[in-house]
């Protein structure tokens, strides 16, 4: 019994924290720019795939993993800035931009997913990173890989830093002001467009970071991007698009749910649960559970 509990906790916590990051990314984008980003899953995949490519093609060694992660983030940032300038910037002031962004990012997700199938697909269809730290720790009779603990630690650190930053740093506060009231923020001298650009960069990079963490802990394939997109949307809708913290809480719950379901039954059923939860919330309480 206890070994199972340990497995569930370690899996659930890891996945939950990774989902927290990805969901935070999506919520920030929707809450501040009003952009429902359907391509977030593909950026998640991008993080994982580029990281994996660095190891597989460039032969990057374990000690250089942090540098590789940084390199991946920089590359992704470049892509994000390009997309922002080419696609998203022009719609910042439109009233119906959420619908436009949704379709645009759906198209973008399709392009990215196709791009990955064509470029990386032929090399391999599963992307697994060799253990960051070899070895296993026995916890109450259950084996927990050190690699998993490393990922857990980093994920925890990332989540906490994000929360702290949003509450403390000048830009984080500006983002939160935008969340609450866009026109009021503009009146108080906040350069709305610049903050939008920052929000897009931040929200996207958080998803990329989550993807890197994911691929270090679990193997990834070409469908991961889509299932993560569904899950993070579900988390955002259920938690409420107005609350980053709320979405993080829901993400942890979903993570545990997934760990339990994967153990007992077909993991695909977890997806069903997310979809139903999303639909129920959309119909009964569209503002989510945590929005005031």
């Amino acid at each position: 019994m206890v070994p199972i509990a340990v497995a569930v906790i370690s899996n659930g916590l890891t996945i939950g924290l990774i989902y927290s990051l990805a969901a935070a990314g999506v919520t920030i984008l929707y809450g501040s720019i009003w952009m429902p980003n359907a391509s977030n899953g593909q950026f998640f995949a991008l993080g994982g795939i580029f990281f994996w490519l660095g190891i597989r093609l460039l032969g990057v060694g374990r000690s250089a993993y942090p540098a590789l992660a940084l390199g991946t983030l920089l590359l992704a940032a470049g892509v994000a800035l390009l997309l922002e300038a080419a696609l998203f910037r022009r719609f910042y002031d439109r009233a119906d931009r959420n619908y436009i962004y949704f379709i645009l990012t759906l198209g973008l997700a399709q392009v990215m997913s196709g791009f990955f199938s064509v470029t990386v697909g032929p090399i391999s269809d599963a992307y697994a990173v060799p253990q960051v730290v070899p070895g296993i720790l026995m916890v109450a009779g259950s084996p927990v890989p050190y690699a998993r603990i490393v990922v857990l630690a980093f994920a925890c650190l990332a989540v906490v830093s994000l929360v702290v930053w949003l509450r403390m740093h000048r830009i984080g506060l500006a983002l939160r002001a935008l969340f609450q009231d866009r026109d009021g923020a503009a009146l108080r001298g906040v350069d709305v467009h610049k903050v939008f650009r920052l929000a897009y960069l931040l929200g996207t990079l958080i998803c990329v970071m989550a993807g890197i963490l994911y691929v270090v802990a679990f193997p990834m394939d070409l469908t991961t991007g889509w299932s993560v997109a569904v899950t993070t949307f579900a988390i955002m809708i259920v938690g409420g698009p107005g609350s980053v913290l709320g979405s993080m809480v829901i993400a942890l719950i979903f993570g545990f749910l997934q760990a339990v379901v994967s153990l007992l039954a077909n993991p695909v059923l977890a997806q069903f649960a997310y979809l139903i939860a999303m639909l129920v919330v959309l119909v009964c309480r569209p503002e989510g559970l945590f929005t005031r």
Binding site: P36, L87, R90, D96, N98, Y99, I100, F102, I103, L104, L106, G107, L108, A109, Q110, V111, M112, S113, G114, F115, S117, V118, V230, F233, I237, N266, V268, L269, Q271, F272, L275, I276, M278, L279, L282, V283, P286
Partner: protein, 341 residues
């Protein structure tokens, strides 16, 4: 639709006549070309697929163009009809004249039931809930193996027969063509009737429509029912054209592709979706190497459409035409034509 009232000038009447004759001529030529093309089995196949997409696009146009909703669950409903028909004819061994209406009614009802809760949602939230339903349907197709055969897919064993003729190859193409033509006539009648006026009123401002006494929910449900049934018709035709069915054939990418054709060719016009289908659906089949890049190409087209062509090709042409005609239209014609005996 018409800017003022019935057209009474001779010039206006002649123009209208010319337009109808022109339309009929174009239709006859198009049908003729299609009949010739369908002689070769390969072109017949591509033609069939194009016709199916034209049917689908017309159905989605009713929902997206006329009632202002973007139903991303369109593909799933199409798949539901196809799987249902396959199940009824091959597993339950029902005859076609019974199984087909059953499958289509099932699709129509499923569309209404699944769309019903989201009727109160607007814009993005409606689109999102529709997406959720689509994803759930795809998941269901993958998981319900006894009903669907799972992710591997199934080949179609029993071909439909009509009056003793097996509907395969070019006969299937003729059937698809006949269906498209009747659907087009039906839709253009619908759009010109009071239904069309109310649909557009709901699309442009459903709160206002309700405040004017229009039963918004009823019209949305009807639009859903018709749209879903058309999705089902296309789904069934597609299954027989390809001869194979799998959950991936009716997933969210299909809904997006169909939407793309509507958006590209022109929402809220009758011909627009057909033009969009003709322009976009033969693409992957005509260029085999391009097939691998299908996702990238369609995704890019979705992006480009959203960026540059909000009303589609046909829509933009019509808008220019309407802008020109308005300057000719005199104010007085309305008042004088309203003189009742």
């Amino acid at each position: 639709m018409s800017p003022g009232g019935p057209i009474h000038t001779l010039k206006g009447r002649l123009a209208q006549l010319a337009r109808s004759v022109g339309a009929i001529f174009v239709a006859v030529v198009t049908v003729g070309v299609m009949l010739i093309l369908s002689w070769n089995p390969y072109t017949a196949f591509v033609l069939s697929v194009t016709l199916v997409f034209a049917i689908w696009a017309s159905g989605m146009n009713l929902l997206a163009g006329y009632t202002g909703q973007l139903p991303l669950m369109f593909g799933g409903i199409a798949g539901l009809a196809a799987y249902l028909l396959l199940y009824l004819t091959e597993t339950c061994r029902w005859p076609y004249w019974l199984a087909l209406p059953m499958a289509l009614t099932g699709a129509g009802m499923a569309g209404v039931l699944l769309g019903l809760p989201s009727l109160r949602l607007r814009g993005f939230y409606f689109t999102l809930s529709s997406l959720v339903v689509q994803l759930a349907l795809t998941l269901f197709f993958v998981v319900a193996i006894p009903f669907t055969g799972g992710d591997i897919g199934r080949t179609v064993q029993v071909q439909p027969r009509l009056f003793g003729v097996s509907l395969q190859g070019r006969y299937l193409t003729y059937t698809a063509l006949a269906i498209l033509l009747s659907l087009t006539v039906f839709l253009s009648r619908l759009v010109r009737s009071h239904w069309g006026t109310f649909f557009r009123a709901i699309r442009d401002d459903d709160v206002l429509a309700g405040a004017l006494g229009i039963n918004v929910t009823l019209y949305k449900v009807v639009a859903f029912a018709i749209g879903s049934t058309v999705a089902g018709i296309g789904g069934v035709l597609y299954m027989y054209t390809v001869g194979f069915i799998s959950p991936r054939s009716y997933d969210v990418l299909l809904s997006l592709t169909i939407w793309l054709m509507v958006g590209f060719g022109g929402r809220a016009t009758i011909l627009g979706p057909i033009v969009g289908a003709i322009l976009l659906s033969p693409l992957p089949y005509l260029l085999q190497s391009v097939y691998l890049l299908r996702d990238i190409i369609y995704g890019t087209l979705v992006i480009l459409t959203m960026l540059f062509l909000p009303e589609g090709i046909v829509g933009r042409l019509q808008r220019r035409e309407r802008a020109e005609s308005r300057t000719i239209q005199p104010d007085l014609s309305v008042a004088t034509s309203m003189r009742k005996a």
